[in-house]
């Protein structure tokens, strides 16, 4: 989450104080991403150093009375950032995926039971998020968007577990169609890419 660009976005609405920025940031993300005031001032200092924002006159550093406004460069930076897709091309190192891959190889382990333990945890988290969404009843747009993002992310993991469950069940009942040597090797590709 880019706090830097979120602050620029808030300043694009007009000049604001540090404390006000923290409150508006949290309100805008439905308090799903809490922010401490130290983080806000450190980020504001860097933005000022990079000439993306400027502050009122000669006030003391980090003073709560100091007001910030976005510069033309800041506007440009914000517009470019909004349209730049984040890098999602390389798969993240996912602890859950690793646990399931390992479970398949550990003798005497019921992989389906391992998968179910994770599935239950994820669905319990989703129940909590849904309760938050239900209690808000669509009043806070920021909260609705942020909670949906979490629900869709967790849902994707549950779907992967369901698919893994089925794939492992089928693999246990059907012999592999091809030998290992015929299969593309991820590791070989990674080495040659260096």
């Amino acid at each position: 989450m880019s706090v830097r660009h979120a602050l620029l976005a808030l300043l694009s609405e007009g000049p604001k104080y540090g404390l006000q920025l923290r409150e508006e940031f949290e309100a805008g993300t439905g308090e799903v991403w809490p922010l401490n005031i130290g983080q806000v001032y450190t980020t504001l200092q860097r933005l000022e150093r990079d000439r993306l924002i400027e502050s009122d006159g000669d006030d003391e550093r980090d003073s709560p009375q100091k007001r910030f406004r976005i510069t033309a460069e800041g506007d440009h930076e914000l517009a470019a950032w909004l349209r730049t897709p984040p890098n999602m091309s390389s798969p993240p190192r996912d602890e859950l995926v690793i646990k399931v891959l390992v479970a398949v190889r550990v003798p005497g382990t019921d992989v389906h039971e391992v998968i179910q333990a994770h599935r239950r945890y994820l669905v319990e988290l989703m129940q909590q998020w849904t309760r938050i969404k239900d209690a808000d009843a669509g009043r806070d747009l920021g909260l609705g968007l942020a909670v949906d993002a979490e629900l869709f992310r967790l849902d994707a993991v549950v779907r992967w577990l369901d698919a893994a469950d089925g794939r492992i069940k089928r693999a246990a009942s059907e012999p592999p169609a091809r030998s290992r040597d015929d299969l593309p090797r991820l590791r070989t590709k990674a080495v040659s890419a260096r």
């Binding site: 179910q116 599935r119 989703m126 129940q127």
Partner: protein, 238 residues
């Protein structure tokens, strides 16, 4: 008293080599005002559980109680009456009658139960109004969107004094926004005291339930624990 209780219910289809155990020793209780979601892969027995809970099918062994009544001790007529008066069904493909208007679809179970056409219509219009469909009452199903059709089906399922709502993939073909609307409506019915069982493979739908039961190869293998409050998710970094 639970609105629905399944006690060690098993269901076997076929015989000998063709024998299929659809359910094995399944026990579930659903209290008034609660929603239970049943999650599992296709073929895990979740739809069988729903048809047995709704007295549309009989278990091979075990007992089913609806509103405290043991279904095995009831006559066919008594069970049919229980289904009309007490149980509402919502199916994936809505199952609305195409030749009837929205309000006629909703009032049909009441009229079949001998309630006067005028009273049934009033109740039907109230149910449609509660789901934001008052202006669609005279429309035929083919004049409604998928989301509207499913809301009519929910109105039909909760009209009158229904205490048990059984839903099989209730937002199957709907987009996520309409799916959420459907779940909000079932949830709202529960807040009025209805007990609901929702069968689904969709975790987002299941997450509306108070309890999620996981079924696999006809057995209940797990269920979610009561969740802590929202404060455990919000403001974690503070």
């Amino acid at each position: 008293m639970s609105t629905l209780e399944l006690r060690q219910v098993s269901k076997v289809y076929g015989q000998g080599a063709a024998e299929v155990h659809a359910l094995r020793d399944v026990s579930v209780e659903v209290e008034p005002g609660t929603m239970v979601a049943v999650m599992g892969p296709s073929g895990s027995g979740k739809s069988t559980l729903l048809t047995i809970a709704g007295s549309l099918e009989e278990p091979t062994s075990g007992q089913v109680f609806v509103a405290g009544q043991d279904l095995a001790t009831m006559s066919r007529n008594a069970k049919a009456r229980l289904r009309r008066q007490c149980i509402g069904y919502v199916f994936q493909d809505f199952n609305l009658l195409p030749a009837l208007t929205a309000v006629e679809n909703v009032t049909l179970p009441l009229e079949l139960d001998g309630i006067s056409a005028r009273k049934a219509r009033e109740a039907g219009l109230r149910a449609l109004d509660a789901l934001g469909l008052a202006d669609r009452a005279p429309s035929y199903p083919d004049q409604l969107s998928g989301g509207e059709r499913q809301r009519v089906a929910i109105a039909r399922a909760v009209v009158g004094d229904r205490r048990l709502l059984l839903a099989d993939e209730p937002s199957g073909a709907l987009d996520s926004e309409n799916g959420e609307t459907v779940m909000r409506m079932i949830h709202a019915a529960c807040k009025q005291g209805v007990a609901a069982v929702v069968v689904t493979h969709d975790a987002q739908l299941a997450s509306w339930a108070d309890r999620v039961v996981f079924i696999r190869d006809g057995r209940i293998v797990d269920q979610t624990m009561p969740a802590p409050g929202p404060e455990s998710l919000l403001g974690q970094d503070r």
